[in-house]
Subunit: 458 residues, 2 copies
């Protein structure tokens, strides 16, 4: 082991190698609920791609299993190392290398946070439109999980914005895929394969991501509905209108009460309306001019009223901004309230009401516990907080929830990733032919099986 | 061979098997220039997924190499069979299985043409936004090549719209990947890997594709520029404005003269302006209302004037529509003019002017011949028609063109695919680590190497 340490020190510098006893607890976990932390034998903090390649060569030779780490804000345990494992932390590879406004792209290192990239892009009137609710997340981590977030209904998810990567393979070879071009029909899209692979195929050391014009005017409309059926029925009407919402969220009344109380927000909804409300739609639009914004807000209000909303509120700016921020912190509200697990399943958006009704039945018919939620209604991406302290009952309830989504053509995770936390549900419910192919792809990239141990597969 | 015929007849019905002597010449080629046609031993026309699976099992057992065929409109020779090979033609699997407006998706068989899907989507006020210029192309073919087209600057290319596939593997196993959901973080994205794989990994038997609101108002602005530098410099200004053009094309003056003459279109550009023009920008916008369209057209005209356009013409409808149609037929205009090969290279859009200048030098400095073109300026996707009858000189010129794109961070093909026609340039210029991985992925999907013989790889 001391031999391994000196090899790693040679690769990245002695001051950037931590061995078992010296590793702070933070390197052993991410933010996933109910997953035990790991204890790696080593943490290394490489400073560049050459160092990452050297580390992976050592890991390959020594049979060390490698867990990549960005900011540790993941929600699926994808950053939890295995005993005896090696954590490659990208905290030092944290530079925005270039904002190329002429090509509308940024070139970033994996340790850059979304907040840092946002600030760099804003200086050029541009935006990287992935806002998963945690601006401390690293670009590397969001690429690993194919992060989504509220604005995906307009802009799409991470995979739509990653144009190319430099990545180190398990062999230590450096791969370059894609580039500063928005289309490509020249062989298999390795960039797309690496996006969402949760650190199991290669370690991304640089990424080229798309930027978009930063539209200056934003407006938010809140619409209470009397039933989830009505909410679900309203969504295609909004998407189909061509208004192109930036955000299209549903929030159930329990969650709305929790997040507004946590942030001390008054939405100005009278008690008489609140009492008849089972869920809210929050619709945000953005435009280039104030005139266009005013016109779209008015159009949206009329549309929502026609789609069965109990009332419609165009929120003034501070309340609107604070509501979106509170919604982004829904995970923390759930955690603070003692949630035992979370779900971010995705399904055809028109199937959401039926799915949520079935979830209610699962809870009512002996599953027990409490399930509350909100979600990206335009994307069919449902976020649930599950309160059920009994591990066995919780596991059965979680299984029932994912099975209900799968039966409607859904998938286990829409944006958090499978990691270690949702692996058993994923492996139970996924198409076995697909899982077989994934294992063969894993083998093609990483024949020694050193990358992302315990993530996705057993 | 008669034994193979009877096995295939058992699989798809005797009337849907053609053996060597009976195979019409059309099954031996697509629309690629300068590529010799092939002569397959068999053509089969399966009617459903089970039949495709049965055919691939027979092919695997008999060592028959399989070329998938949609409408045969490809431009890279991807549908050209090898001697002794088997063509799987999807002409009978040509149904739009579902237009699901509530989820904004269509479920289609691979033999459906873009024109057929467009008609089906239009009936619901929706659009499938891939318009590669050939509406007779099949969905299967466009998925195989990750087709782009003029509207990609707004909507993105095929891969952004394919949410899921059913596909038959070389083993005959049926894979289901993705679904009617727009985001997914549940394992490797096999759908994205299959899109653009040109029939070398699996045969797509069903696809779930995204549809979008069909915006009713479209306007077209034509702007002549005095130099390609000016055109290239104007593009980021248009994209960065947030106007969100539907189409952003450049057309050089030679090509503009050829396509307008071929279609007998008068654009109303005075001779005095034409004489000072080296290239045109054609910008199309679409909006939900007439008012918004008028406002955006005015804004665009002002913007273009500020960006150095020699003049700006808001084209009236018939001329506008006919110009776009003529631009879509640029390939045919080039072919009729006797073009010997075509290029659809992609590069960072800001690098286009320098690239085109270098192409001009290649032609001038002894490469000889004539190169003219147009392209998707917003996407950095350059279409060139190459006139050089001498095969050796043409090969050197083509190599020089692709090398000039690669040196600027580009790739050989932006939307046509590599097929058999561009393979040698691709293999020469691609990252060897990437090609090595692609070959291992190919092996993971198709260990016997029966799918897409001669496509992408040797």
């Amino acid at each position: 082991m001391s031999d391994t340490r000196s090899l790693l020190a040679e690769a990245v510098g002695a001051e950037h190698v931590l061995a078992a006893g010296e590793v702070p607890a933070d390197y052993g976990h991410d933010e996933a609920l109910g997953v035990a932390a790991g204890r790696p034998d080593f943490v290394v903090r490489p400073g560049d791609t050459t160092q990452v390649a050297a580390v992976l060569r050592i890991a390959g030779e020594r049979g060390l299993r490698v867990t990549a780490r960005g900011s540790g804000t993941g929600l699926s345990g994808g950053a939890i190392p295995v005993p005896g494992g090696l954590v490659v932390s990208f905290e030092r590879m944290n530079r925005v290398l270039e904002i190329d406004a002429a090509n509308s792209v940024a070139v970033v290192q994996p340790g850059v946070t979304l907040a840092e990239l946002d600030a760099a892009a804003a200086a050029h009137g541009l935006v990287y439109p992935v806002f998963p609710g945690e601006m401390g997340a690293s670009l590397g981590g969001t690429i690993a999980t194919n992060a989504g977030g509220m604005r995906a209904v307009k802009y799409g998810v991470t995979r739509q914005h990653v144009l190319g990567v430099e990545a180190v393979l398990a062999s230590g070879e450096v791969l370059r895929a894609g580039g500063k071009h928005v289309k490509n029909a020249s062989g298999y899209d390795l960039t797309q394969l690496i996006v969402g692979s949760e650190g199991t195929l290669a370690l991304v050391t640089e990424a080229i991501v798309r930027l978009y014009p930063r539209l200056p005017y934003q407006g938010t409309v809140l619409a209470p509905f009397g039933s989830l059926d009505q909410v679900t029925a309203a969504v295609p009407g909004i998407v189909g209108s061509g208004i192109g919402p930036l955000i299209l969220e549903y929030v159930d009344t329990v969650t709305m009460a929790a997040i507004t109380a946590a942030q001390d927000i008054d939405l100005g909804v009278p008690a008489a309306v609140r009492d008849k409300t089972l869920a809210y739609l929050v619709v945000m639009v953005e435009e280039r001019t104030e005139e266009r914004l005013a016109a779209v807000e008015a159009e949206l209000a009329e549309l929502l009223a026609g789609l069965g909303a109990g009332d419609v509120y165009v929120l003034p700016d501070p309340a609107a901004r604070r509501l979106i921020e509170a919604r982004e912190k829904a995970f923390w509200a759930a955690k603070n309230a003692g949630a035992d697990d979370i779900v971010d399943t995705v399904l055809p958006r028109a199937a959401m009401a039926g799915f949520l009704a079935e979830v209610g039945e699962l809870v009512g018919s002996g599953g027990g516990g409490l399930v509350m939620g909100c979600g990206h209604a335009g994307d069919g991406n449902v976020h649930l907080a599950v309160f059920q302290a009994d591990a066995e009952a919780r596991s059965a309830l979680m299984h029932g929830i994912f099975a209900a989504a799968a039966a409607r053509g859904g998938a286990v995770s829409g944006e958090h990733g499978i990691g270690t936390a949702k692996k058993r549900y994923f492996l139970e419910l996924a198409d076995p032919v697909a899982v077989g192919l994934m294992l063969r792809i894993k083998q093609a990239f990483d024949p020694g099986g050193i990358l992302g141990p315990g993530v996705l597969f057993e």
